[in-house]
Each structure stands twice: as C-alpha cells, then as structure tokens.
Symmetry: C2
Subunit: 230 residues, 2 copies
Amino acid sequence: MTDAAVPPPPSKGERTKERIVAAALELFRAHGYEATTMRMVAEAAGVSLGNAYYYFENKDLLLAAFYREVHEAHLAAARPRLARKRALADRLSAVMTAKLEVIEPYHRFSALMFRSAADPESPLNPFHPAGADIAREGEQLFAEALTGSSTRVPSDLAAELPGLLWTYSMGIVLYWIHDRSPGRRKTHALVDRTVEMIASAIKLASNPLLRPFRKKVVELVRDLRFPTEV
Amino acid sequence: MTDAAVPPPPSKGERTKERIVAAALELFRAHGYEATTMRMVAEAAGVSLGNAYYYFENKDLLLAAFYREVHEAHLAAARPRLARKRALADRLSAVMTAKLEVIEPYHRFSALMFRSAADPESPLNPFHPAGADIAREGEQLFAEALTGSSTRVPSDLAAELPGLLWTYSMGIVLYWIHDRSPGRRKTHALVDRTVEMIASAIKLASNPLLRPFRKKVVELVRDLRFPTEV
DNA sequence: GGTTGGAGTTGAACATGTTCAACAACGGTC
DNA sequence: GACCGTTGTTGAACATGTTCAACTCCAACC
C-alpha cells in the first residue's frame, strides 16, 4: 500500500507553475530581483505575461516561492550536520553556518527577503499566513537543535527558546545583508561568538538560583511574542 | 554680529524643493506612501512631474525627507522630557515613549521606513551615507539620556551603549510596526518592561566583579558593530 | 457527438516610477 | 543692454508591474 506516498500526477497547471518558478529562480540568481522583469520570467518559462500573473498574483509571490526553496535547502543542509554534534554551541553553530552557506549565493539581492519580512503586508513576513509556515519550520529546526543537545533546559524556558533563536537568526541575517567583509568573515565571527554566549546564557539561566529572573524573562516573551494578536 | 545665524535667503530652487517636500508629506499622511504617486506630488506642489525628479532622484528620497522630519520631531519631543528625569529607566522610557508618540500617526505606512532601513541600497539605511546622520543623531540622543542620568557607567561600556540602545530602539519600532493591539498597548508594555531590564542590566554590568564578562561583550560589539567595514 | 463549465492562456491596455532632450529664467560679466 | 553659463522647468517617451476581457482547451456529462 504505497498509495498515500504516490502524489497525483501533476496537472497541466501545476507543470506550468513549476516552469514559471524555475525560470524565475534562475533569473533571480543571474540578474537579481529588481533586474528580473515579469516579461523575462514569462518568456523564459515559455508563457505569456498574463499567464504568469494567473499563477502568481504579483512579483513578490514569486520571491516567496524562491524564499521557500532557500528555506528547504537550509533544512536539508542543517539536519545532517546536527546528527554529528552534541554540544549546544556546536549544534547552534551548525544550524547557523548551514543557513549562511545556503543563502550566500543570493547575497546581492537578499535584502529583498528582509524588506518583505519586515513588511506586515508581505507574504514573507512571519506573522503573515503565507509566511508563517517557514517561520514555524525554522523554529522547529532550532527546537531539534535544542532537544538533541547534551544540555538540559527547564521546560518553561524550553518552550520559548526556539522562537527566540529564530528571531536571533533573523538578526544574524540582517547583519549578513550589510556585511561587506571578504567571505562574510564578520558575520561568521559574529555567529561564532554569539553562539557561545547564547549557549552559556542558556546554561546559566537553567541554574535554579536564577529561576525568578528566568521566570520574569520567559513571561515577558510569552506575553509579547505575537504583536499581531490583540 | 548675528551674521552667522542669518541663513542666506532661500533660492528659487530651495523654495520649490520645500513645496515638493510639503506636498509629499501631506499626501503621505493622507494616503500612505504607495498610494501617493509622483504625479500627485508634482501637481500638489504646482510643479511638473519632471521637475519633481529634478529635486528628488527617486520616490525613496522623498520618503527620506519625510523620515528626517519625523526624526526631528522625535528629538524635539524627547529632549524636554529628559530634562525632568534622573533615573536611567525613566530617561530611556522618555526617549522611547516620545518616539512611539511621534511615529504613531504614520503607523499605516511606516513599514516602508523599515524596509528601506534594512535595504543596503536605500538612503534610509543607517550604514548608507544619506541615512547615517539620522542614525548618529539618534545615538546622540541616547548618549544624552545616559550621561544625564544618576547612573554611573564604566567608560568602555559607555562608549558602546548609545549604539546598542539605538539598535534596541529599531527593534522596538519593528515590533510596533506589527503591533495590532489597541493604542499599541503591547509595544508600550514591551518598552516598559525592557527599559527596566536594560537599566538593571547596565547597573549589573557596571559592577567591578563583572568586568571580565563586560569586557568580552564590549569587545564583541566594538569589533563587529559595522558590518559594512571590511 | 454535442454541450457546458471550469481551467488555462493570451495580448492589449493601463498606471506609475523614471529618463531625457529641449526650453525658459536668472544672474553675473563685459 | 547683449551675451552666456547655470539653474530651474517642461512634457513627452519609456519600462515595467498589473489588470482584464476575450479566447482556447479539455474533461465530464447528456
């Protein structure tokens, strides 16, 4: 019974959509986002301009498709590395390094990802329905990095850490966008050093003596984590 | 001798530019950024479309002019409040509250400020020459908040704090952009609580016992503060 | 086989940011 | 006052994201 595993054959529309995405990703890679016009995408996909808009309401949604692809690549790159590490700092480092490596080819136009991520209207924004999946999966990855590590974390903190770490990773990406150093040396240095600090801070915060302080921070995060809620 | 204080009379061009800015700000306020077209701005300013582009290379630069106006308003609102506070937490709170009040009328399109701020190419980005002034003045304001307070801060830390606090304020603004709660309650709550935590952390970090740890953090910040440097 | 309704597709049209060659106004110089 | 270079100004043209009414294709149904 392999029925459940066999996806239905792609419809004509699905194949067309796939062609459009592929064309767009290739053009983005080659020319960047702004320089890639919808007409170029349509032509490269062997499709009319209007047809591209039949599948993607606007250009941003093509970017969202691209973003998802990058995200999948990150997951695929990070998980095998996690399997080889125990120490928390190493595991966090594995996740972040995988991220930096995956996004490196797109440095020249990755600012776009970020601008969209900061825009409440954009499908890339983690609070937007269309972008929520990626954020959730990103947090999930950090959750795996935590649970698989040799470090024990109190449960109240453990509940909030994945979200915090995901936010941290967004901050790193923002730094990386502006990083002009060769080989993105500064971003890697920042990751190396902050990852150590975070691991230390987590161990410290797990100390029973610090429970009251920890509670206060966890409460703050829990209360205010979702600005979009009322 | 009041010569130095008397600015030269505005040239024709300066007056035209002023009219364009004024028209743009009013239209932004009324309709938001995207919905305001350059043609609308030109017409409202009583000027041809091409002429608007003579003064502002692109629409983003009009947004930059708007951003500067908001920034000036923030400085003007924050400084008198600082004069009435001594405690560090109160002073930080004064600066942040002034900021939130000043930007509140523009909540609907303020995401634009942020997207531009995150974009290395944009004039709003603090690492971009055109946006650097605003960032510097923002840090300066935090420097005033610090030096005027009753709290003593070790000099190594004092050198880095304004920049860190400015970064913190950007984070608050990012949160505020997504805040849908009535009266922006959640953002205010976040400010209230984080400002306390920051003041406590600064006092804690000033403790001589923590000098090694503080040195480590200060060094990290100093080394990596400017991603755009090589 | 004909009909029908939805999915897929097209090209033209539109709105808007941006550019540009040409023109006008102005201020200084002789 | 005539000349001239700089500053200011214009409207048309262009590129590109987006929309839309019309068309084709195709599978399901009678």
